[in-house]
Amino acid sequence: AQTVTQSQPEMSVQEAETVTLSCTYDTSENNYYLFWYKQPPSRQMILVIRQEAYKQQNATENRFSVNFQKAAKSFSLKISDSQLGDTAMYFCAFEAAGNKLTFGGGTRVLVKP
């Protein structure tokens, strides 16, 4: 069974600065997807970024980028130029065959003005 670990329960960052969220996972699979989802106070789950394991290039979506280290089974999320609207819970998730996501416990991010 796959496991996903987010070791930082809570982080705070000043507006316009950068914050990095860590995520590690455990799997014996070779082909899989990794995701970061954002959950603002509205409770809606919003996909932030996605990484295919077979791609060596790190995914980037505007101010969000990942550092994917397959051998280390690490998948960190960097939020650059943090904005107040980035305040949310962030979940790392893993998916192998079967389209079933396994989630980490989440990291609460607070962006301070």
Binding site: A1, V4, Q6, P9, Y33, F35, S42, R43, Q44, M45, L47, R50, F91, E95, N99, K100, L101, T102, F103, G104, G105, G106
Partner: protein, 115 residues
């Protein structure tokens, strides 16, 4: 936004009563899922379905049952609710034939409180 509707959005019930949560989708996606969200645990898979009348257990299925008689509807039933089932429940959908990206699309969640 994916057309996923969960009902009810909020429910308070008493221990021992049956509860059914409904997930309705208009996207014609084949796969549907029920997750529960609890502090410190993220989202955990309860049950999932790969098609009509094709369901299977997730990692936290005890005390829950599901049914899928139509592509668009996935029902989650708590036969006899317990306080440990107080949680926020999310429905999600996906279909690798529509978008083979692994992404799940989520409903807005249903908050259930069992007193």
């Amino acid at each position: 936004d994916a057309g996923i509707t969960q009902s009810p959005r909020h429910k308070v019930t008493e221990t021992g009563t049956p509860v059914t949560l409904r997930c309705h989708q208009t996207e014609n996606h084949r796969y549907m899922y029920w997750y529960r969200q609890d502090p410190g645990h993220g989202l955990r898979l309860i049950h999932y379905s790969y098609g009509v009348k094709d369901t299977d257990k997730g990692e936290v299925s005890d005390g829950y049952s599901v049914s899928r008689s139509k592509t668009e509807d996935f029902l989650l039933t708590l036969e006899s609710a317990t306080s440990s089932q107080t949680s926020v429940y999310f429905c999600a959908i996906s279909d690798p034939l529509v978008a083979n990206t692994g992404e799940l699309f989520f409903g807005e969640g249903s908050r259930l409180t069992v007193l």
